[in-house]
Symmetry: C2
Subunit: 414 residues, 2 copies
């Protein structure tokens, strides 16, 4: 186990290897670094190799973990700790992968104005860095919200983690019951930890991605109920079939490592969930979506969720790199804005997470609504022209496709 963890940490480090400079971070980051250093000294004192994981990671997290480090260390084997460390790592890896794309776009444009002669380095563009907000929740726990706005590649990118605990009020308990859970108490102590992200690129040829992975614990009488939920889905503005196949294939590989039935099941669940019912269309080309995963056992379920979360970067970043410099004009931008309006409709009207979040007293609405695009548009009775690229997308949104078998039959026929 410590060996696998070390390997994974190295994988993370090599992924973000190009990211060597000390970065323009708010105070919270330096606090985290100082705490990290202190923690490193403390850990070395303990001569415990397994703790290397935290030491390495801590420097790379976007901010200090929500749960005090001493507590995390004390409860290393607790799933709450494992999940918090997973989402911290996923958040940091994903934010840095996106910043790398911004940095590369900036590389092409930088001038001597951006050069810091004192330190003999180019100063990275401030718009290409995530703004990091570490927040506390009065009722217990908190989160870290990272938002990059108005970048060269990404118009708005939000990557959020939250680790919250407290008492679940009766309406929330009721909602769980209606989903098949059976609790006896009216108010329940709960714990929830999750990472969620929505990335709206600037170029209409680059699709939007959303993912969310979460772990839930509810204590009823003497029993602790736990389960995982999550998913990753893709929302293109212009359909590129190869992109959709690559995306689905990457997710399928992550699923197949754990159960050969998962991909089919969770792909269908995704198609059924991201539906803008009043328009009779899906939000995008799908992906995977699941909830109530409390099988086959806690560690296996955690490993499955870990694989899914680790599949986000390889499923998406290649698509960004492929299309970020594609040509487009006013027409394509207008269509992207209209589709972003549809995205807003889904999120505000249908998305359970958003609705549940906004109706929770004391919710940090800025973190919940970071998923909304920077710009959106609604035109009355807009209808794509027949046989246009826009209509081609609409057909797939109205009738979801089996991307991987579609690819197979396409390969067979050629």
């Amino acid at each position: 186990m410590p060996y696998k963890v070390a390997v994974r940490s190295f994988k993370t480090l090599s992924y973000i290897g190009s990211y060597k400079k000390m970065r323009d971070r708010p105070l919270a980051f330096y606090c985290a670094a100082i705490l990290g250093a202190g923690y490193a000294a403390y850990s070395q004192h303990k001569q415990n190799k397994a703790e290397m994981k935290e030491i390495i990671q801590l420097k790379n997290y976007m901010a200090e973990p929500i749960t005090p480090i001493s507590e995390l260390e004390k409860n290393q084997d607790d799933m709450k700790t494992q999940m918090e460390l997973l989402i911290m790592r996923i958040q940091a890896e994903f934010c840095r992968a996106l910043e790398k794309e911004e940095d590369e776009a900036w590389e092409d444009e930088k001038t001597t104005d951006d050069f810091d002669f004192d330190n003999d380095v180019f100063l990275p563009s401030p718009e290409s860095k995530f703004k990091v907000d570490r927040w506390k929740r009065k009722e217990g726990g908190g989160g870290i919200t990272c938002v990059l706005q108005d970048g060269r590649v990404f118009e708005k990118a939000g990557v959020n983690i939250s680790v919250v605990s407290g008492i679940l009020p009766p309406p929330a308990v009721q909602q769980m019951k209606s989903r098949g859970k059976n609790f006896e108490n009216k108010e329940l102590p709960f714990f929830a930890a999750g990472v969620s992200a929505v990335i709206h690129p600037r170029n209409p040829m680059v699709p939007t991605i959303h993912f969310n992975y979460r772990y839930f614990e509810v204590q009823d009488k003497n029993e602790v109920h736990w389960w995982f939920g999550g998913g990753t889905d893709l929302t293109p503005y212009y359909l590129n079939e190869d992109d959709a196949v690559h995306f689905h294939r990457t997710l399928k590989q992550a699923c197949d490592e754990h159960d050969p039935t998962y991909y089919d099941k969770f792909k269908k669940w995704c198609d059924d969930y991201f539906v803008i019912s009043h328009r009779g269309e899906r939000r995008g080309v799908g992906g995977i979506f699941f909830d109530d995963v409390d099988y086959p056992d806690q560690q296996s379920a955690f490993k499955f969720v870990t694989s899914c979360a680790e599949a986000v970067i390889p499923s998406y970043i290649p698509l960004v790199q492929k299309h970020a410099d594609a040509g487009y004009g006013y027409h394509e931008r207008q269509w992207q804005l209209l589709r972003r309006g549809r995205y807003v409709e889904f999120n505000l009207i249908y998305d359970r997470g958003t609705k549940f979040g906004l109706h929770t007293p004391g919710a940090r609405y800025e973190s919940i609504l970071m998923s909304l695009p920077l710009n959106a548009k609604w035109e009355y009775m807009h209808d794509p022209k027949p046989n246009s690229p826009e209509e081609k997308l609409m057909k797939v949104l109205k009738e979801p496709r089996d991307w991987l078998n579609f690819q197979q039959s396409k390969n067979t026929s050629t």
Copy 2:
């Protein structure tokens, strides 16, 4: 009664008097005109002066009424007929008042390119006219949706009427019950007729207006339950206190004609209804809002609703005229777009009408969502600068003001 009707018709005609040219209308309009002419001939044959009302109006409606004219004529005293004719008139008057503003803005800009030398007249700009869609609902009834998009004065203006009937499904009945109604049957025959409009001007100094007036009938066993609902509210982007006072004073006058307690009661109801709860702010500076008005009697309630609907133009058009040419820049436009994002949040998350509409099978979602702005924006953690005009607005949105007493005390103190 016929005398008052004739006076009202003349008032309408004089209001839209400047609107003399035959207009660029879709087929439906000409059908309506032909039907109108036929109806006029038929009515003259009957030598019934009261019918003059329909003859005059029919030519001025945006399209043919939803209910067949023969049926409207047969049931002239029925509230269903009276309400349908009221909303047809209100729709037409309001659309033309807005088109007049567009025409005047265009007057200043027209060139010889716009001159029709064959007919010796200037051709009006097509963007300054409402697009009229008359639609049928499979389950019974239909509506007329008028939308003006990308005009000189109005970025997006939607004025919709609907006249629908059918069977209210159990969830809808349940929702009525929870609002205090007590029905015995599980499925109920119903009739609903209403006009609703949302106007998003281009200039950030001109406020957005929304109004909706509706009549409902539900038949339970042998009893017919009926009631009226409605309201008018104003959403400025920059606070102009004189505007807010003028707006509220006009609505108060309409209320006071019928009951001295109405304005205070319905002003408070409005402040309590248009709340973006998760942000702890109101949508705008309020107005009036009411529901379940089935008192003191049907005719009196109808007259009250008529007064409110007739107060829309005098409450709003002067504000358009006052600010349509005000100077503004990028900063003001960005703020307007952010506030439009908040408007979307209210409409999609909280507005009962929108939610009820979108969850009704077979709903014409394009008519429901015409209320959404052409463009909207969401910036993470946007916060107006202290003592800025933007912050001045936010203060009023967080703490609604008693505009008319505020004005009084202001006058007293000066």
